[in-house]
């Protein structure tokens, strides 16, 4: 090969690199064989508690849901995970059809018109919703954000917006009601952002607010839990302009924080303002049904600095996981999972509410997560739970200090009655 290229050595390929900076040493651990690495990886992995070693009641935006074996069997197919972005539709029909089916099922689930091929995660989907709202409403400089939005989503939103000279209001006061938030929407506001179930697990009745928000020329953005939508009010039904969600509960493991799935849905009228990839159905030259990336004039590789966003990738394989999961569950399965979560969470809440020193607000509707006000600091309670192989709830001390010692407890179809009873027993013993 060197002769064919017309050089004497491989080093001759790198003469353009400044000589004094060429071939720097790399101080790295020595190479390892596959079997040595398997051993080392198992050692590192073995140091982490996880859903196979512990009973998990921790949620706060990421949930330990059941993932049928069939999901990963499909994900392991090289045809999916070693394929590139489907820019060449003739040889990418598998990926394209799967994404089209993802878009279709998420549209049904959310009651929205159009869905894109996904964003990085729930937080970035929400930030992209803000960018889109600013593009749709034009020349507005205010976002109204409910405190019920996951604190990390609000943090991501502020990161994305930091250079844009905007005002982000509404989430500094824990006493603010939905009506108060709607009243903050004015003619400078691009969008109102609400979440249901909210960060603390509460379900909100969002009917009626879209009209008030639209009256000011602003958009309504609703962040949802995809499992919850099997039972509860959809963003589409309450008139949301944009709906975003964290897709992790749909067949994606906990993965210590990622990769997850950013669900993004919108209205037909705004389809040209949506960021990210979208797949459409069409025909090939022979008239055969086929799928392709479409409405591409929105994207960065074509529009450059005038693109709707800089987003380039989507979470293709995670969208596939969600699609396979939703297909396996189907209408009945999704509703059964949601019912298991709902009833077991309410059973757990009722049991814990009877413990001396513990308080749970059972008067407000919630789905699978709820706040437990505790007689002592949550860190201490969780330390006790750990000794019993239980990972307790999320400590709200940082995010909602006004609640006093309080934990956010999540219950899913993975937490059996026996698991819940064990949790309650350990809490009772203190």
């Amino acid at each position: 090969m060197l002769a064919a290229i017309g050089i004497a050595s491989v080093a001759d390929l790198f003469v353009d690199v400044p000589a004094d900076l060429r071939f720097p040493p790399l101080d790295l651990p020595p190479a390892m064989s596959e079997l040595e690495l398997q051993r080392e990886l198992r050692r590192l992995s073995g140091q982490n508690a996880n859903a196979t070693t512990h009973s998990i009641f921790l949620g706060a935006g990421v949930y330990n849901h059941f993932v049928p074996a069939a999901v990963d069997q499909i994900l392991r197919r090289g045809e999916y995970y070693t394929a590139y972005t489907p820019y060449q539709p003739e040889v990418s029909q598998g990926t394209l059809q799967a994404v089209f089916e993802y878009q279709s099922m998420i549209a049904d689930l959310t009651g929205m018109d159009v869905v894109n091929a996904s964003h990085y995660d729930g937080g970035t989907a929400l930030a992209e919703a803000a960018i889109m709202a600013l593009n749709v409403t034009r020349k507005r400089n205010r976002l109204v954000v409910a405190r019920g939005l996951h604190p990390q989503y609000r943090a991501v939103l502020r990161t994305y917006m930091q250079s844009l000279n905007l005002e982000i209001v509404g989430d500094d006061d824990p006493t603010m009601s939905l009506d108060d938030l709607v009243n903050l929407v004015d003619e400078h506001t691009a969008a109102l952002f609400v979440q249901s179930p909210d960060f603390l697990g509460k379900l909100h009745d969002l009917r009626g607010i879209a009209d008030k928000v639209h009256a000011k020329g602003a958009l309504l953005v609703v962040h949802f839990d995809p499992i919850g939508l099997a039972l509860f009010q959809t963003p589409g039904a309450v008139g949301a302009d944009i709906a975003t969600g964290e897709g992790q509960p749909l067949g994606i493991g906990l993965n210590y924080g990622g990769p997850y799935l950013g669900i993004f849905a919108a209205r037909q009228k705004d389809v040209h303002k949506i960021a990210g990839r979208i797949v459409g159905a069409t025909r090939d030259m022979n008239g055969e049904l086929a799928y392709t990336l479409t409405l591409r004039a929105r994207e960065q590789d074509i529009r450059r600095e005038r693109a709707t966003s800089n987003i380039c990738t989507n979470q293709g394989l995670m969208a596939l996981a969600a699609t396979v999961y939703m297909s396996l569950m189907g209408r009945q399965g999704l509703r059964r999972v949601a019912e298991l979560c709902y009833h077991r969470a309410h059973y757990a809440a009722t049991q814990i509410a009877q413990l001396p020193g513990y308080t749970v607000d059972l008067t407000q509707p919630f789905f699978k997560e709820f706040v437990v006000q505790c007689p002592r600091p949550v860190a201490a309670i969780n330390a006790t739970l750990r000794t019993h192989g239980i990972i307790g709830g999320y400590d709200l001390a940082q995010d909602e200090p006004q609640l006093g010692p309080a934990m956010l407890l999540a219950v899913t179809e993975m937490n059996s009655k026996a698991d819940i009873d064990q949790l309650v027993a350990v809490l009772r013993e203190g």
């Binding site: 491989v10 992995s45 996880n50 859903a51 090939d284 450059r304 396996l328 309410h346």
Partner: protein
Amino acid sequence: MSVYTSEPPLYELSSTGKIGANLPTLDVPTAPLPTHLLREDELAGFPELSETEVIRHFTRISQRNVCIDTVMYPLGSCTMKYNPKLHEEAARLPGFAAAHPLQDQSLSQGALALMYQLQQYLGEISGFDAVSLQPAAGAQGEFAGILVFRAYHLSRGDVERTEVLVPDAAHGTNPATAAMSGFKVIEVKSDARGNVDLDDLQSKLSPRTVGMMLTNPNTLGLFEEQIVEVSRLVHAAGGLMYGDGANFNAILGIAKPGQVGFDFMHYNLHKTFTTPHGGGGPGSGAVGCTAALAPFLPGPIVRQNATDGTYELFMPEQSIGRLKTFHGNFGMLVRAWTYIRTLGEQGLREVSETAVLNANYIRTQLQDLYPAAVDRICMHEAVLRGQIAGAQGIRTLDIAKRLIDFGIHPPTVYFPLIVPEALMIEPTETESKANMDRFIAVMRQIAREAIETPDVLHNAPTNAPVRRLDEVRAARKPILRYNAEKFAELRRGE
């Protein structure tokens, strides 16, 4: 590929009452449901299938994809190299795949150790002092970098900087990122040798310069010959140098971006460090930077506690904030860590040496028929032009589509934008000489066909799951979700 048959949409396979999952029965008393909050349609119309039907459906449509496991993928700028199977097993170990990101850090020491080590390795390979694994993809790494530049300038009271310099050859994400960060994009020309034009650069640098976004090797597949001078000029104007790491596969152990003048870069772990592309993601766009910029990095980042040696997450004191939830696409980090530990110093350098050798081999064997954009030794990718002497009415698109008939994924086409009819070919180090020789022979055959039987190219592909698509219809009458009536129209040819 004639075995491919079409597969109906999932919705058309559905029949009422089926379920593909085996769920537990309810073992607690039912609680009353809040009737005013229920969805009214009870999810009517949602697909219902058995497990067998679901598996068959997704297996059948998978066979309508090509992928790295089946074909050569010389896709320039995308680094489609082989994805080792060990990595898939590693990421699925329960301590990684089933760990909750918010569980106590004392319960996550293995995961945090792995992240800490990966930060160290990436910093060492690139010559940077600090690394954040947070960004979810390259474009998010770019966004992080430009926000960090902004924060750095503001922290020094340097408030007049509003312009980001971007070469005309740059990836589309670069100008899109600068615009998303609220800055004005100033384009810088390339010179005849494919480098940044120094005169044009100097004329555009000013006290308003935030910095420059540069890919090196650049998108012509060339190492910037004047990189040290480019960096010096940008720094002299008070600007910072952003390195787009899309082409990092060419310079592992060959050059360190931190040593040639870059202040900040992103690593596409899904390119250079072979985390699988997944049909369009997930990616991972970790970032590295100099000590001066480290306080502004997105977080959380992992550090080692000096007293007890444990690992912990922290936010840098002047951080631009978090770019996504939790701490990066962790599953991708496990794969990248495994890759680096498999190869070590020598192995990584051989990756780049072989990738560059392979690209030059293809370039020299094809540039008599497909003229090179710039006639120079290239790095890991060769940018050629689909302008075949003597061929009439043949475009690069036709050449790309004809490659599909031979079971080869097309190269990146029409990019960079400054090269007419561009064909950007990146074989990567994982392609054998035999496969490259076959690719070369096919490309030479296509060049002959372009002259002798051009219709063969115009009609290509004919050996693929579908023929060329009606893209105009897709855009003019968009069907973006399943609808029985619209599908019937499509099938009737309306």
